[in-house]
Structures are given as C-alpha cells and as structure tokens.
Symmetry: C2
Subunit: 500 residues, 2 copies
C-alpha cells in the first residue's frame, strides 16, 4: 500500500521533476535546521495515525515564522510542488500523509499561546499548540477549550482546525468549527488571509466554516483565535447497562427527546466493554450487551436534577443497572474506559482499523446487527464504540498487518461499513475526515455535480491544486473505476440489508 | 437613491440588452400566471425591508416546481441576465432588491411542509414556508424550530437560509446555520446539488455553512431539512433595571462568565425603553438607563435555579430593580416590548434605519457613548436595542425620508456606526447580512486579498456572476472611491474615539 498512483486529483507535471532542485531551493530559503531531506530524517513523517498508508516526501520543512511559511508556499507554487501540512500526525484518515513528489510542512514550531483574554473568553494561539495545552494555559481563569478529541494530549490546534475535530463533549459544546472565532492563514500564493470574526453571523461568505475541516486543501493556518468556556462547577456521569443495543439506542433517543443535552453521551457494545475492562478496570458491567455513559455538567443543583432525569429515562428504556459517579475520581474512571478503547484494541489485536461513519440514530440496532454479520463475511472481529448522541459510529476492526490479505480484508470491511452508513441515510464521516481513507466512499455518497462543487471551491483557494492533492475529492476516473467494482445493472451494489 | 450604478460586481454586458427578449423567453418557458412584467405587477417587488433602495426588475417569475426553477436558471445563464431571489422580502439589508436588467425569482409558491420526522427531530420544508409556520406544523409533537427573527410571522425559511437569520434565542440555540441539516439547491447551470447531511462533521468541504448566509449569491434553495428542538417545559424572564449602560454591560459579561447560557439576553437603552413603553405597555421601568431581559428555559426546577442565579448576578452588578415574570402572559409581555421596538420606532418617527453591527462586549459603554455623541454630529436621534449576549447592536436611527438631506445624514450616521464597530475590533454585521446596505463597509473591514477570497468562492458556484450581482462583495473601484472619502495620509480615517 506504499504507493498510490491515483488517489484523487493528480498533480499536473509541468516539465521534469527534480527532487534535488526542490531540496536546493528549500535550503536556499530556510535555515539548515528547518529542512530535512535525508531518509533517516524524513522517515518519522511517512504516515499519520492511518499507518496503513505510508509515503516518504521529497523534504520536510519546519518553518519558524509566518514569513518563512509564505516563502515555502511561493516556492511550491513556482516549482509546481505539492505541499502537505502536518500538525502532530495523530489524524486517522491519512490527511497528513506526505506526497511522493512533495514537501511536508510541519507546524510543530508554531507552539506559542500568544494572548489570553479572560473577559472575552478567547485565546489566540499558534497552530502547533497542543489541544490540552490550551486548556492548561487558561485554567487559572476558570476556563477551558471544549473540543476534546481522544488524542488531545498530543494533537494540535492546527490539526484540529484542518480536521474539524470533535470529542466526547461535542454534543453539547460543538466541534472545532463552533469553538474557533478566527483563523489567520497563508494561501498558496503566499498571501495572508484572515477568516471569521466576532459576529454571530459572518460578513460576506462564511469562509471560516468552509476552511475548518478542509483537511489542508485550502491554505496553511498560522494563528487561531479560540473560544473558551467556563469550567462547570460540577459534572457527573450515569453509567447504564442495557440488555440489547436496541434498548440502549432507544434510551439515547428518549434522552434527546426529553430536551436534555448531555455534556457527553457515549455507547459501547459488549465486545468493546470486554476489550476495555481488563485493561482499564473502569468498573464496567461485563454482563451488559450495551453500555451507555451519559454526563451532565453545570451547578451542583442542575446536575443533581438532570442526572435524576437521565436515570429515570434509562430505567424506563430498560436499563438493567444504573450507576452514578459518586466522585470526580469515579467520573474520570468511567470515562477512562471509553477514552482508552483504541489502545485497549491494541492489546487484544496486533492492529486495529478505526472506522468513522454516521447514521440516523433509529438505525443503530439494524446497522450493528449488519456489522456483526459482516464479521463472519470478512473473517475479522469488530468492536463498536460510538458518540451515540450524534449517531457517530467508531467500529474498531481488529486485524494483523503482518498478514497482507488481512489488511485487504480489513480495508474491504471498513469500506462496506461506510457504504452501509450511506445506504441507511447517513454519511461516510463523523469527525475523522476523508483524507486518503474514505476517498472511494465519496464517490458513493456524492453525485458528480456535488463533487464538482467541492472541486470548484478547492480551486478558488488553490488554483494549481497543490495543497494536499489526491485526497478528499475523488477524480472522475477514480469514481468510474470504483464504480465498476460495485455497479450491477447501472446501480451501486450495497450489502443486502434485508437480512438483518 | 433609486439607481445605483456601481454597487459592486458589475454584470458584464455581452451584446445589447433587450427587456422584451427576456420577457418573451420567460413567457415561452413558464405558464402565464407565473410571469409578471407590467409595472403595476412588478412594483410590489421593487424593494425589501431596506426601503431606502428601490429598483424595478425586468420581470418577476413565480415558479411552482423545481424543474421550472432549473429552466429559469438556464435561461438566465444563456441570456446573461442577472437573477435575484426573494422570499417574503422582510430582509433589512437590501439582499432581495431587484436588478434593473434582471429577473426577480419569487419563491412564495414553494410553501409546503413536505415531511416531519418527530423521532429524528427533523422536518423537510420548501423555502417559501414561513418561519413560524414550521413551528406551528410540528407543535403537536412537542417540537419547534428555534431561530426566531423578529419577522418570524412573515419571513420564510428560504430567506432565513440566505441571510443566516438569528433572533433573540440564538445565543443558546444558534443561528439558522446551526439549525439546518441539509439544503437542496439549483445552480446557475440548472444543476441540483445537495449540501450538508446528518453527520457532526461534513464529508469533504462544509459547503452547507458557506451556502447558509450567502445572500442569494451561490444558488437557489428548493428544499431545506431543518432541525427541531423539544419545547422547554418552562421559561421565565428576569427584567433588570440598571443605572447605566456600563453596569448593564457588566451584568451581561458576568452572566456569561458564570457559565450561564440564557435562552435570551437582550438590552435596551433609555431611549428605546421610552419609545416602546407607551406603545406596548410592557411594564418597562422608565427610570432605567438600561434594561436587561434575561430568559431561562428548561424544566421548572432548572429554571427556578437558573433564574435565582441570574437575579443574584444582576443585583451584584448594580441592578436597581429586578422583576421575574410570574406567568407565561407576563413573560410574553416582557418580550413584546423588545420584539416591537421596530414598529414602535415607526410611531415616534416617520422613518427609521435599523443598523446591525457587532462589537466585543467590553466596549459596549464606550460605543454607546460614541453613538450618543454622533446624534449631535448628524442631528438625528438614535435608539439602541441589542442582542447583548452576542455584542450585536441594533441602533435605530430616526429620520424623515421626505427630507432628502435627512436620508443622506441617516445613511452617513449608519456608516459611521458600522465603521466604529470595526474600529473597536468588531464587524459590520450581526445577523442582517451585507446586501446593498453594507457593501462600502466591507472595504473597511476586509483586505483586498480577503475580498478576493469571497469573490473566488462566489465564482466557484456562479462563474458568470449572475446571482444577486453588485451586492455583498465590493469591487476594487468601489473600495478605491469609498477610500478616497476616508483616507488621510494613506490611512482609513475613523471617528476619534478618544473623546469618549
């Protein structure tokens, strides 16, 4: 899987390509310690969290200032060299995987918290600041930065902006796009553009929202103004056991229908619980077919009242056991299991492939049954954790990458799950982005006119198509080829859902 | 102010323009009752809520089906005719003002609620459905549609999408963009494109967010899937009087800092209170220098607890009087004053001009003092109502349109207020859009590179620039000309804030 000739938009080749010319030009532009080009130096950058896909870039540049970023952008444009940006490399869809003929732009040296305004509840940070470091920097003011992806210890704000990262608290507090007020970025022409502002509505077109989540295709972030929220005085979690995934799904629907917006609302299936519990010892109920974690935050009175309502709804929906966290330590322990589901998968299987799709909540039971059936079909196990409130699934497919045909089966299993999501009216992403990983499934979800609209907006920012090329938006040729594998009698063939 | 030769992007003229040819082509395309072209028929469409600006279109078309919309779009493209869409015409920035060489596309016949899904809390509606009619249609399920612009009895969902409308409850429940899941639209090529979906994050680029609020520049909406929320069991309002705008502003900051997200948080200054009270008899305190309305909603227990906290914060911030609504009738009466501020202005002045800018909350007192000073400078009175939680100002400039030089002074006064907003770090819009009204101020707020980014995205959707042309995005020539009036020694001249 090392080379991927056609993964999307091809970079046009104007004249012969010379790696040496690119490296020489970069070395003339930046201090020596900012340009890496020997294989032993570029190897650590060959992949992000989607380690199935790897590729060495021509060079890695680590600029230290905005003018240096502008210089690199102008150079890439002049020499027609693809450019891929990278934060901490924790992304799960291959968005930061280098291009074989391109430059990888690492933003790790942009790591300053530049300004904190406690009265306005905002902070201005550079893109290489880690997600958790923002909350740490503002903690003395009783504030924090709400989006909390599982990788928040390591992942950076720049990467969060590129992928529109979420987390277990995004049901109540929103994704990155809802927590970013302004972005300063450099275009492929080397121009500085600021997007967003403080108004509820944006003046002109809301380019901030299209930029957040654009996966490095539109420009390079050099500064981000984030929104901060006051730390709640109190938070508690209800942990509820259910005899079936369906009954847990019903409880989710009824919590939402009751007008409760929990701070977090997560579900795990039996396999996930059994995978996590021996590792984390979170106190999970091993007899449950599905486990629900539902958090309330606010003042102690508000939380007590809301927790009682959540418990009542769960019991009515058929919960066999309900436990409320009695201390902050217990609350964190309940969450530790959910947050460590991925490393726990690594303990029971040599490798795992974390999928990310979204479905209407009412199809939860049906889709999980279908995934169970697919386990037999593809001969691989799958554990399920999900942001239940959003209908966002994270199936973890367990496999062994030392067996090439298991890699292939895992890949096909993942694709089948995503296409199942589309089939029941959902989408191929939840929060991990499209990147390399889901580019084929974009052909399944979108019409050619819709993909053309994406491409037109991409071109509006990046006319030469040099920024993170061959990702996210599939070419016509790719969709045609992918379609051939699937189409029978003119229609895309989906798995037969009537069996479930 | 009837003709505005250069208000932005000019429509290129390919060959001679013939109104008759356009009308003939439209009549050949649509049933006779769907095409209006006599002056007495098109006159009612000459302006929207920004009645300072008027213009008759070549024709008004009122299509009845999506294929008819596609046909009209293709015709306009083929004949190079500008096209302006219109909902109910309640917009306040001139977004639906016709183009003198163009077609006005009225969407009033798209008025069906097509589907309600109470379990998923969604509804699929046509763009001509009135905002309030959505809530009425779903009331039996205990649900409602949250965004509530003051014009909600009349304004339509299509217009709400075009302008990204807000309302007094948008602090807690979000603007239109946060309450729309999917939009189906027709491009200038006549293609159907669906934007958005059910996932927390969008697959590919988030074109839904850039489309919502795009003021008719990107395409014509034919169907909208909206999010519904459960009706809260209970709602109460605190009405608090303050001895100064500053102390009321502090109360707002402290409510937000306490982690309270009120369902509504509105402020009125003394002039607005005195304007409204004799008209509405809402029970407002005529001795107050500033009045704050702060609503809490939820279960009765949650509301009782939150209202007590809000009251405590207000008293601590110096409130001289606090009154809590004791019944639903009283709550509605408290709001009636705020919601009728605009008609109340019509009672004390022949005309009023409602501005819309946003500022960082901490500058509230300073900006209001500056506006008061400007009243003398421009010789016009101004009442202030605002969405205080968002820092979104709505100064109401009172004038008499029978005196042409008063129109001119009102226009300049408004421009000065918007530029003051930019100067203190705010923006020229809150929620009413740019339209015709604020196009000059776009030159003040944005750099040329930033305006170019807007234009590039506009072109990505509408290459011939036929959709709502000459609005929102100013041309280089316009900015140069506007700059000449303002620039001294190479810098934009702002009003001197140091006096306040």
């Amino acid at each position: 899987m090392n080379t991927l000739a056609d993964t999307g938009l091809a970079v046009s080749s104007q004249g012969a390509f010379s790696a040496k010319a690119v490296i020489d030009a970069l070395c003339a532009l930046l201090p020596a310690h900012c340009v890496l080009f020997r294989e032993e130096d570029t190897r650590p950058y060959e992949c992000d969290g989607l380690s199935l896909y790897r590729c060495l870039p021509v060079a890695v540049v680590l600029p230290e200032s905005e003018p240096q970023v502008q210089d690199v952008m102008r150079l890439c444009k002049r020499m027609n060299v693809p450019l891929v940006a990278r934060g901490a490399g924790t992304g799960l869809s291959g968005g930061a995987m280098p291009h074989a003929r391109g430059v990888l732009l690492g933003m790790s040296k942009f790591n300053r918290v530049k300004h904190i305004d406690p009265a306005a509840c905002t902070a201005v940070v550079e893109p290489g600041v880690r997600n958790l470091a923002v909350s740490e920097a503002v903690a003395m003011h009783g504030l924090y930065y709400a989006p909390d992806p599982s990788s928040q210890i390591a992942c950076t704000i720049g990467g969060n902006v590129a992928e529109n990262s979420g987390g277990v608290h995004c049901l109540k507090y929103g994704l990155t796009v809802h927590n970013v007020l302004r972005v300063r970025m450099v275009t492929i022409e080397g121009e500085i553009v600021e997007l967003g502002g403080g108004a509820p509505d944006a003046a002109g077109l809301d380019l901030l929202s299209v930029f957040v989540g654009s996966e490095g295709m539109l420009g390079i972030v050099t500064e981000v103004t984030v929104k901060l929220v006051p730390k709640p005085l109190c938070a508690q979690v209800v942990m509820a056991s259910f005899p079936s995934v369906e009954s847990a799904g019903n409880a989710v629907a009824q919590i939402i229908a009751a007008g409760i917006i929990p701070a977090g609302l997560e579900m795990m299936d039996r396999r996930a619980v059994h995978m996590v519990e021996p590792f984390v010892k979170a106190g999970y109920d091993l007899d449950a077919q599905a486990l629900l974690l539902c958090e309330s935050d606010g003042t102690p009175e508000e939380v007590a009242h809301e927790i009682a309502r959540i418990e009542a709804v769960c019991r009515q929906a058929g919960a066999t056991r309900c436990q409320v966290s009695g201390s902050e330590a217990e609350r964190l322990r309940f969450w530790a299991g959910r947050k460590n589901a991925f490393p726990a998968a690594g303990r029971v299987s040599p490798d795992y492939y974390c999928m990310d799709g979204t479905i209407p909540r009412r199809h939860l039971g049906r889709v999980l049954n279908a995934i169970e059936q697919m386990e037999d079909e593809f001969g691989l196990r799958c554990a399920n954790v999900f942001h239940a409130g959003d209908g966002n699934l994270h199936p973890l497919i367990l496999f062994d990458s030392n067996k090439p045909e298991e890699i292939e089966r895992a890949d096909k299993f993942g694709a089948a799950i995503l296409e199942l999501c589309v089939q029941v009216g959902g989408t191929v992403t939840g929060e991990h982005g499209v990147g390399m990983e889901k580019i084929n499934q974009m052909c399944v979800q979108f019409s050619r006119d819709e993909l053309d609209a994406f491409l037109a907006v991409k071109r509006a920012f990046d006319p030469p198509l040099l920024l993170n090329p061959e990702k996210v938006i599939p070419t016509l040729a790719r969709c045609a080829e992918y379609g051939k594998m699937h189409v029978h009698g003119g229609e895309m063939r989906f798995p037969d859902l009537s069996r479930f």
